[in-house]
Symmetry: D2
Subunit: 356 residues, 4 copies
């Protein structure tokens, strides 16, 4: 540990998001991991939860108060609902927080509606910045509290933001998601049992019930009406997202396959590709490409690959984005946000993919 | 072999569709398998192509002419383009044919447009009946030539036909397909190599390029305008299908996940479920259920599970259908058609699923 | 239900073994399924546990006493330890029992040693016949209680019995098992979570700790010293099995890969193949083949494929057997035993494989 | 590119070994990738072969002569047989070579016997050092030509070397391998087709036919008789390895599951663990652990996890090693060797695992 390094802590270090935070933060050149908490594994070595860390670190899981106390920046990868109070505790102690839970992504009204309970700390909502790095970089830089986006929402928003920004998004947008099993977490349950998931694809939380919907509607509304600069939770206009997620037999990866009937009829595929390319031109982690993307090309990585197509028969636009749900969809975006918050080179400790 | 049994033959017996025909026909109580052809395995035992048939049958692969000559009903599971001539040969010899290739599913104009070559035997197209059993049973019964539907088209058509029949389908229909790898056949290629498919999902043939589109538009147009009785290739009206297939890391199974903006705004989810239930009431292989369907529930089987949802926020209807691409999507439907053609009990030799 | 049919019941109908019993018994021509019990799903439709049975049966899960009372033959697919008492209850009521648990496979001494508790009903052990059909057919025919073998033990025993019977087995035998996840059951736990099992292979219960070891040693000892006729639990001689199981990312299937240093040095590979072929000549479910077997060739089936090789460099014999752990390794063997017990044609309701 | 960096080139950059070399060398701080060749993709961008490198590098595949000419150290990941001549060309041009093919791993006699052809360049064999880094570090440091070990051989040798070094290895050693599909390369063939590999396990090249056998016998013979220092191909003593590989449905990973009947009867499990720990004490990439290892813990990494067990019932020792076949089993070990050859810190550019 060099003196100038920033001390960071993790709450929820025994979930998959925690593992991916560890993978990045343990090798971050300007950061020291000062503590990792897990209620389930308290006092045990990290390797008790993570066999791949045996021999890599001797650290043990600490309790939450200790981790909060010992860090300058805190990552919370704990369940929604109970996370807000931990965040408040950290903010009160003067820490900056990057929250991977859903607790600070929505307005109090939307939180109550979509999560079925009153928001635990509504007074903090105005402090939170929605952490879709590419769209809210300037506010993230100064933020004390970043609400790291949901994995499915990240894929959908990155696939659609350029259309929103150019006024091409109509009132109605359809998003079909193919999601890997790790997005559902590490807690054992029948629906995630190997023998039930393997050789199976099934839709879930369809027809307006998935909790990432309001994140997408907010973000695209802001992209359409306010550009990249403003973080307000309630844009003047929001599209209605018809969101259809499907669980597929895969460990990592999300494909967002979007269909948009454009407001301007004449736009061509090459114009769309140019428009996407320009929108993400300066982004180190986004690649707009001609080819249809595939999730294996981002497996283990913090990148997002995107393309766009126009169906000449039907007039619909398709946009496709692939991410690793645990990388760009969670821990990678969180560390990207850390780098932005601390003024570091943005891609420090971020990762590329492996193939096959 | 009992004297009254019908002799059936298979061309293309070393592909996956052929294997599934064998599984059903070898145990069909009223049928004798009189010959199986494969150019690649000519003269070798069936078990050379199919390790699971070792010890089950001593039969060897014969040549095509011999198989055609020895049967009363012929299944062709050979590549499109070259199949039409084999079909003509069989029809000329007085055989009835169930063709699993794409050669007799479309009008000559559509065939030329979608398959990039003039139809090899346009004079036979008026003889062919499109073999979606549930919609064209009466014509299939009398048919000399049945064009067995495409696997993706079957899933989409079954998911959408009730809406079409009730005039609820608008001009525009979106179909998202999650398709298993066996649907792409058994010929080795990089895109189907294990290490490239596993842990990967990718869209393919999107934006109006998939060849099953005209089958779906024809079928739904007929369902909307002519009911179940007529086989004409050119209905007066056809919806435009926006078709988006995705290859997922799975051996068997198709999920059709459809989105329809209804022509009548007031229709409710329970009305839709009732309407679907009534449409398929008498069908032995279709189950309309409340639960979201999953492909594992039809793995290895000839059934199709369907449900329908209405998104109250956006107004869109979702319908979901799952089939086994090699069962109801290919061999199962072909044997179902055989049973109809021969006046047998319809579900003879058809199969249920296994779990897990 | 025809009057002459035999009424059978199942306890433990919501586990994977139960599902596979249902798949066979629902289509068995001489059997009526009179009741299926599950504590977890009591009173609910079978389809609540088994999505693939929706629309196939309207039956609901009954309680155990009711199922025992209503049947003539009972299958118990419940956890070891608690099953013995249910078996006693059924025997006391005059029923015949096929027990898929481990409760009646071992002597009281071995049970206590390997399962860590005194045997619950030691007085019944002399009633039980170990149900490896191919080796104990004559006793099974007359048995009131059949102890259906363990899945891994079945694969190992079938791979090794011919060597035992010919005195070729030395004191030491090595068995390496590649086992699919469904063999570990349907109860959710971290080690069977999709994201932990996929892309992972791991040894488990190695170095003399797996509970199927004494079953294999008993069976091979009997095969070596008493032939196929006698069921005594304690043969005069038993080999020592070094048993090394590995969990692989697969839903179904077991490969037993055995290594034997033969007692007679001169035996050749072709002699071994002949010897295996002769040993299983009359067996409808066992195929001795030249090719190395693969589990996909028995997926979903009740067959066992076997081959044998001699390594000329080292002198070791290898024998390989593949089964479906839920078919021949559990439900298929249980139904085979039922057919034997009732004097039916042996393969009634037994199943072949599907490919791919 | 900084002036003091070493220029390295790759032949065979479109195979899986090539991809993993790229992943490490593109981020190696002391190395510049001066050229990558692929006959199949000549002149096209790396991203044409590797979708995950789109946007990461603009480099194109060059021809072999150009790559050889432009580098100081050459990696050859080309097919055996044809590689030897390329190696000679590079050595003649004064380059150092790390050869990932099998061409320089064996003596001329063994090469002819196991690869079925005379060695193309026997005069170079005395130049080659077998590149199992942990055993031959000193010779590798000075080597002009390193023969990078086979993937299965690496797992087996690391699992067994400590026993060899302590004289505990008898004449006979059994090695069972569970191998992922990527080890068989990227060329499409039926046996590696997704639908044939998924849900399937099968033995292959058993009974003394696998070409990694002589590598293992040589290496263990040297470890037993000459320690870590000497590279001679023909040790005075070699054990006989009974080698049984199995292909499992997985993309990456090898488990070597070894069984050894020890020469000394009294050795205990804790003594064995201590002995293994001491043997690998200074090794940065080897972890001897108490727990049974699993391949997921090394997925994507260059590490090897090992444990050892003693079966008290049978007396056999089991040792287990897991590696990523493309990491420690190929590219990772090659880059490790590069670091040793160039006097760099040994783990530069080497990688840890990701979970799940």
């Amino acid at each position: 540990m060099q003196p100038q390094q920033v001390r960071v802590g993790i709450l929820g270090g025994s979930g998959y998001g925690g593992a991916e935070l560890l993978r990045r933060l343990l090798q971050h050149p300007l950061v020291t991991l000062s503590g990792v908490a897990s209620r389930q594994y308290l006092g045990r070595p990290l390797a008790a939860a993570w066999p791949h860390l045996a021999g890599v670190t001797e650290a043990t899981f600490a309790d939450e108060a200790e981790v909060i106390g010992g860090c300058e920046v805190l990552f919370t990868a704990t369940p929604h609902g109970s996370t807000a109070l931990l965040v408040r505790q950290a903010l009160d102690a003067g820490k900056r927080v990057i929250d991977l839970s859903a607790d600070f992504r929505l307005s109090a009204e939307d939180y109550a509606r979509w999560y079925g309970q009153p928001h635990p700390c509504p007074e903090l909502l105005s402090t939170a910045v929605y952490g879709l790095t590419e769209l809210h970089r300037d506010e993230i830089r100064m933020a004390r509290l970043v609400a790291n986006p949901g994995c499915n929402a990240t894929a959908a928003n990155l696939a659609l933001a350029p259309l929103a920004a150019h006024g091409l998004l109509g009132e109605q947008v359809l998003v079909s998601i193919a999601a890997a099993a790790s997005g559902a977490g590490r807690s054992p349950e029948l629906g995630l049992h190997y023998s039930e998931v393997n050789e199976n694809v099934r839709p879930y939380k369809v027809a307006g019930t998935h909790r990432h919907i309001p994140e997408v509607e907010d973000t695209l509304g802001r992209a359409a009406t306010m550009g990249r600069r403003l973080k307000t939770h309630a844009p003047a206009w929001r599209p209605t997202i018809t969101f259809t997620p499907h669980l597929i037999p895969m460990t990592r990866g999300i494909l967002a396959s979007c269909a948009i009937y454009p407001t301007q009829d004449g736009v061509t595929e090459s114009e769309l590709l140019a428009l996407y390319g320009a929108y993400y031109r300066a982004e180190p982690l986004i690649l707009v490409q001609d080819e249809l993307p595939q999730t294996k090309a981002v497996f283990g990585s913090d990148r997002c690959l995107i393309t766009v197509r126009r169906d000449l028969r039907s007039g619909w636009i398709h946009s496709f984005a692939v991410i690793d749900n645990l990388g760009k969809g969670a821990a990678g975006q969180a560390v990207h946000n850390l780098n932005v918050m601390l003024g570091f080179s943005e891609t420090l400790a971020l990762l590329g993919a492996l193939w096959p």
